[in-house]
């Protein structure tokens, strides 16, 4: 029985990660992911961390691993910032895709972790750096990229458009990552506050806090009949959906419900509490059903005419 379970689990894992897929969904995710982050970080001058005073310097583990002991000068950070933005753009366009993704991951890890080294860690960008690392290991630049154009025009090599496991696992990695994050958030609530997090006035208080300190996009009236019950309902929805998030990995219909609920939850947080998840939101692109437009079994015949014999 245990052996049977092991065999089935291995088969499931193999299908989940390595079932051959079209290269196009991964390429589209690459373009959206790096393009979104390029635009998002274009207006954010991360080099301004050098204006922090050393009295509030509290480097995160990664910064200590980089061997950085003092707040870097802005003059050191600015060239890195420009290089990083350039790498985000070239990764989006698919130019030297793996190298660009690697640069994005390493420089991004350094620059972003610096911003967390002042007694406050934001939770909206760690997953992005990890996803950049996944791209650096992947073959996301095989199609819809400058690399593929160069290979075709100069190298004379055929376009690699055959379905392959290489085009599936990076998307699955990001999906797993996203669900682990939400599950962790659910566990943290239970661990730190228990069910009181749902069945007390906590959610109502959180909304008051946002209203008075963050100028939410929608200025809600927080004093009307039934507001307490409504807030408890919102808290129950948030905790419930976070705890069942991993189920989205096992069933397509469950995924549709869970992922849209999580997106709704984060949109609600952005609108009502002005907590910015907009850069993180790009990870939802990996959950869109791209394979319906580019099914694995339709790729070879569809593009075979473009492939030189």
């Amino acid at each position: 029985m245990i052996k049977d379970f092991q065999t089935r689990a291995l088969e499931w894992g193999n299908r989940f990660l390595y079932k051959p897929a079209s290269p196009y969904p991964l390429a589209v995710c690459r373009i959206i992911f790096f393009g979104w982050l390029f635009l998002w970080y274009l207006g954010k001058d991360l080099s301004m961390v050098s204006y922090q005073h050393e009295a509030v310097w509290n480097p995160v583990l990664l910064i200590r691993m980089f061997g950085v002991e003092e707040i870097p000068e802005r003059g050191t950070l600015l060239p890195l910032l420009f290089l990083w933005r350039g790498a985000l753009l070239t990764a989006c366009l698919g130019f030297m895709t793996r190298f660009s993704s690697l640069l994005c991951c390493v420089i991004g890890a350094y620059l972003i972790s610096l911003t967390h080294s002042f007694w406050k860690i934001n939770h909206s960008d760690g997953a992005l750096v990890i996803a950049m690392g996944f791209f650096a290991l992947s073959k996301a630049g095989d199609v819809l990229s400058i690399d593929s154009l160069i290979r075709r025009k100069i190298g004379g090599k055929p376009l690699p458009v055959r379905p392959d496991a290489e085009y599936r696992w990076p998307i699955q990695f990001v999906r797993v990552l996203l669900m682990v994050i939400f599950f962790a958030a659910g566990i943290a609530k239970l661990r730190n506050s228990g069910l009181e997090w749902v069945f007390s006035e906590n959610q109502h208080t959180i909304l008051w806090y946002a209203k008075l300190t963050r100028e939410p996009l929608v200025d809600l009236n927080l004093d009307f009949p039934g507001i307490g019950l409504l807030c408890k309902g919102m808290a129950l929805f948030a905790l419930g959906i976070e705890l069942i998030a991993p189920l989205a990995l096992f069933d397509r219909r469950a995924a549709a419900v869970i992922v849209s609920s999580l997106f709704l939850l984060q949109t609600g947080i952005t609108v009502l509490m002005r907590d910015d998840f907009t850069q993180f939101a790009v990870l939802y692109a990996f959950w869109l059903p791209w394979d319906r437009h580019w099914p694995a079994n339709g790729v070879s015949s569809r593009y075979s005419a473009a492939v030189p014999a």
Binding site: D45, L46, V56, V60, K120, H123, F173, F182, L212
Partner: protein, 156 residues
């Protein structure tokens, strides 16, 4: 795809999940891995909110609270400053460091102004305030009411 590469990839994914699980179990941050504790603690019944106000160069003008566009993205969270405010009672150096720390915000404000990131007026210093709120019962529940604004320190 070779078996070796498949195993390697599975190990990378396993590693990422395991580090996250480790963070969840021990309840610690190891950025970019985390146990994602945002909003997980119960909110207190009274709040003290840290605010930075600009002191205009023109003495005839009133101090103003920094709008978010006047603060660089990576300096908006003031937890480090908040920590120094709390340390003031225990550490005699904390107040001096606090003054120096908020002085840095003046520099970043002026740098951003000169780089045309915002078009607010020049400032001669930054003042640190704490805004106090308290919970008050209402007909349908409660509201958070501001009960005071305290000026803690100013940098020049």
């Amino acid at each position: 795809m070779t078996v070796v590469r498949k195993v390697l990839i599975a190990e990378v994914l396993g590693g990422v999940v395991l580090i996250h699980l480790f963070c969840i179990v021990v309840g610690k941050e190891a950025w970019p891995f985390s146990h994602y504790p945002m909003y997980s603690w119960m909110r207190p019944q009274t709040w003290e909110i840290i605010e930075l106000h600009g002191i205009p160069e023109d003495p005839a003008k009133e101090e103003f609270q920094f709008p978010s566009n006047a603060m660089p993205y990576c300096l908006r969270r003031l937890q480090g400053v908040e920590r120094l405010v709390r340390l003031q009672d225990e550490d005699p150096n904390a107040r001096q460091l606090l003054g120096a720390t908020i002085g840095q915000f003046k520099k970043s404000y002026e740098t951003n102004r000169l780089e045309k990131q915002h078009d607010l007026e020049p400032i001669s210093g930054v003042a640190l305030y704490i805004r106090h709120f308290e919970k008050r019962e209402t007909r349908y529940g409660f509201e958070m009411k501001e009960v005071g604004l305290e000026r803690v320190i100013a940098s020049q």
